[in-house]
Symmetry: C2
Subunit: 308 residues, 2 copies
């Protein structure tokens, strides 16, 4: 058995899966560590498209980490990690999110404000002089495409495009734009998902001034496809508010072609959410023009409004 | 004026001063940023020896950061940083300590379990392909020597010796052992320091299970030189316990030649401190054979004993 498990956040997305694969490969090959990439859930439809395309097996799904040490990718906050995170030692982090982290000892913690964790890892491979196999390069390119919406999201950094181009070349992707659009679209087929899967498939929990705030997000090519199912979505959210003791649930429905979002807000603190986006909630719903990034455009104004 | 200030912890030591100089130089030259290395206090005798040897000016001392953004080196905890840290944005961290950090947004945070922050920065220069000027290399070599006690401290990592040797060559230091011993000894001339300077010159504050614990440390070549001044040292600690509202003060006197320490503990929680080191305090004092590193051998057992 591997001595150290490497994994991303709950409700894994393409960057979380790809970064776990990449970090584990790097640690094993550059630093002679004994690690295994695992995941806290099954791949979503978009990630599965990429795995199938590059003929990569999905990482084993774990419920609890059964090693003493772990490496986290694409997250650092305990609330987004494995259930027994408090009982194990985090020896490394590769991430590109805001930080809320404590360790008992010095450790490896590499956080960069880049568009994806895969971008950070691309440069780590370069610095360590380790070659990236074609199929891993394909997964890492898919991660950059996913997190930056083909370099169009405001989370895109100047480091992402050079990394994506180099990885696409290594992966033999002649036209990464066409591949990327097909992959993103594969992730927006929502018809086969239950309402619970819609609201929770990519959801993350945040502590905002003592309030437990859950923020879910789906990508689509037509937000009305989602709001046509409003009744079952509301029922699913209300059930989760009650069962999980969240104070507030914010469901972000993002049109990846038009780069806009609509939000649906349930639970307490509706006034704070409206204030965060300088908008009015009508029946819990509001349009947020130009908003596509939870990390950059949704969570920071929420945090500020809750802490005001 | 620089847009971003770069500085290390309060009560600066050689690594904190050198890492601030190195990080600022790297950011300005590799990333075209506009930064200035500053310090939260005057150099100690050891650091002044290195500054004089390599003809480097001591960084300007600040009381508050008057820029919107700062980069922290050699620390990440707010309690060890500039007074107004809560009002400014930390855009980057280079550190080699345990982590206790929160940010509102993604940022640069590079923490490695290496012997010194200067070691981390040496590899950052290498990765960025930026040449290190001789006098800066000398300061960085001094930082590694200081933090690792000439590669003998248990905090020494496999990355430190190669970095020290490369930096010594760049600095034109033919015999870094001889230079290092002279520098370390320059830092142990305690006779000219007041008792307050002794206990506070290198002290750091820690929150341990809600208790405010202050840990000071001096290096010496004879611990009895310090304990001969016990009465004035105790008086200085008692005054500080009262004025700063610390619960516990732990004063570590380290013999850098023999790699041992004696501690003197005042205030509450003496039982917890004794338990942490599996020893008995006689009149508040105990010998800790083999203990030289506050970070690796003093703080972790204390933290565990307080949290038990």
């Amino acid at each position: 058995m591997a001595k150290t498990l490497v994994f991303g956040h709950q409700n894994p997305d393409t960057d979380t899966i790809s970064a776990a694969l990449a970090a584990s490969y790097l640690l094993n090959n550059a630093y002679h560590e004994e690690t295994e990439a695992v995941a806290l859930g099954k791949p979503n439809a978009e990630t599965q498209y990429a795995l199938d395309y590059f003929k990569v097996a999905a990482p084993r799904v774990i419920k609890e980490a059964d090693t003493e040490t772990v490496v986290l990718v694409d997250h650092n906050e305990a609330g987004q990690s494995v259930a027994n995170i408090a009982d194990i030692t985090v020896t490394g982090v590769y991430d590109h999110h805001k930080i809320d982290f404590k360790s008992a000892a010095p450790m490896y913690f590499i956080n960069m404000p880049y568009g994806s964790t895969a971008t950070i890892l691309y440069y780590e491979f370069k610095n360590a002089n380790v070659e990236i196999p074609a199929e891993l390069a394909g997964m890492m390119a898919s991660a950059i495409i996913s997190d930056t919406l083909l370099l169009k999201s405001p989370t895109t950094s100047p480091m992402d495009q050079p990394a994506l181009e180099a990885l696409a070349t290594l992966a033999g992707l002649a036209d990464y734009q066409a591949y990327g659009l097909a992959m993103l679209k594969a992730g927006t087929d929502l018809s086969s998902r239950t309402a619970k899967e819609l609201i929770d498939g990519d959801a993350k929990s945040f502590d905002m001034a003592g309030q437990s705030v859950r923020v879910g997000q789906v990508n689509t090519v037509d937000v009305e496809d989602v709001f046509a199912r409003r009744d079952e979505v509301v029922a699913a959210i209300e059930e989760e508010l009650a069962s999980e003791d969240y104070d507030t649930f914010i469901f972000v429905v993002t049109n990846i072609l038009e780069s806009n979002s609509d939000v649906l807000v349930l639970g307490a603190n509706q006034d704070k959410v409206a204030k965060a986006f300088a908008t009015t909630l009508i029946d819990g719903r509001a349009s947020l023009p130009g908003v596509v990034s939870r990390k950059k455009q949704v969570v920071p104004p929420l945090q500020a409004a809750f802490e005001a």
